[in-house]
Symmetry: none
Subunit: 258 residues, 2 copies
């Protein structure tokens, strides 16, 4: 599916955004980059610097005079647009786009274009009306101007997820209301220190030959996502062990001196 997707940038004015777009595309497995009437140097050092290893995408980017020309062979054209228009147009969320792309890319001749407008002024109404649908990345209403390469990154990421197959999320525990607040990081670190000291004291743990013991214990307790009451219980247990240990030390001392 990813090989049927094209990223189209219209009138880009910062070469860094072309490089950043190439890097974001390559990271997500996209390779087809088209530039419409760029307003900056395309193949120079600045775009290559930001491409950072995805230079080949910049070098192979095709430059077109118009959006028409850049998407002439495309069967599905989606424009990234934040603006609300006088004439509403079918609008997709990035996720809905991801869900729809596999179907749109099924036909033999399918080719889908994701079109991004100018950094300063986006896409014209004429350009937006050449799209089958628009896609809007939900942003903070107080600060909605996404960096161009960042917008490409988000949509390319949704494309990659769609290509990998939708629901890859494993189900996690703790899906019920809990009876105690979670322990804080500080609580945990004090516990791990206490635990390690105790394990050394009772000759279970040799810091000179640690064999991943503390890492494994960390993993266990971090994974179980301890709450504050459990934390108190564990600290109480360690305290009890320490106390017994001190008592037996005193006993040994007394025995040794008896």
């Amino acid at each position: 599916m990813l090989d049927k997707l094209r990223i189209v940038l219209i009138g880009t004015s910062h070469p860094g955004n072309i490089g950043g777009t190439a890097r974001a595309m390559h990271n997500m497995g996209l390779a087809d980059l088209a530039l419409v009437a760029p307003r900056c140097e395309v193949y120079g050092s600045e775009s290559h610097a930001r491409a950072s290893g995805a230079d080949a995408l910049v070098s192979s980017a095709r430059v077109h005079a118009s959006l028409e020309e850049a998407v002439s062979d495309c069967t599905f054209v989606v424009g990234a647009s934040a603006r609300v228009r006088h004439l509403p147009w079918p609008m997709l969320t990035p996720r809905a786009l991801g869900e729809r792309l596999p179907r749109e890319c099924t036909p033999e001749n399918a080719r889908a274009a994701l079109v991004f407008g100018r950094e300063d002024s986006g896409m014209t109404n004429g350009e937006l009306q050449r799209c089958h649908a628009h896609v809007h990345i939900p942003t903070n209403p107080d600060f909605s101007s996404l960096n161009l390469a960042a917008a490409v990154q988000v949509l390319a990421y949704e494309c990659r997820l769609a290509a990998l197959g939708a629901d890859d999320a494993p189900d996690m525990p703790f899906g019920v209301e809990w009876d105690n607040p979670p322990a804080t990081h500080d609580d945990l670190e004090r516990f791990f220190e206490h635990l390690e000291r105790t394990l050394i004291d009772i000759d279970f743990h040799d810091p000179d030959n640690p064999r991943q013991l503390m890492a494994r214990l960390r993993r266990l307790f971090m994974r179980s996502h301890i709450d504050s009451m459990e934390m108190n219980i564990l600290r109480g247990i360690l305290g009890a062990v320490n106390k017994q240990r001190r008592a037996s030390s005193r006993q040994e001392y007394h025995d040794g001196n008896g």
Copy 2:
């Protein structure tokens, strides 16, 4: 929920990435940025330039000496890591993280940190073992090194979607508030009758040899989910065709009787 999320960058070496992170955060409605032992100038012109309007986040970023210090009050710490470790650790996809965050952020004292490692070497094992879970952004295996600000952008986007509520797609046929109500079934049927009569009148359509013409037109117009104003426009066009047809018929009649 977003006000309970902190982004933590460890040992960042490029000020542009601090600025880019601030911009990505502000775009997605995050505000709490912590920097652990940065290896570059934090508050200089380069980070502010890339922040591009999110300068306030850079200015208010707190600098810490260690990850410990940066997340000491956090109840849920997630490290962004691509590497597969010797000792497996609970791993989330970005989407699973988004699904889990609302629950993690429910407790009164909840504070969640998303931690990002160094541009060149990521997070150390010690740092990764201070996390409840790790999150991996699925990337092209041939080119997996995401730009730091781009990685923050992707996770911040998933956080925002999670905060908006899983299903952010407005429940509307076109995903956006439409300007006109949809046409009714009756409207459509009257239109199809009108269309068919008109096509017969203009000798485009032969009911004795229909060749699926009306079925194809039905499929086309049904699929586009016509609204009531569009319906009026189409009926108006048919009316105009009918009128012209009648005028030319009268002309033929007059011509025939001339």
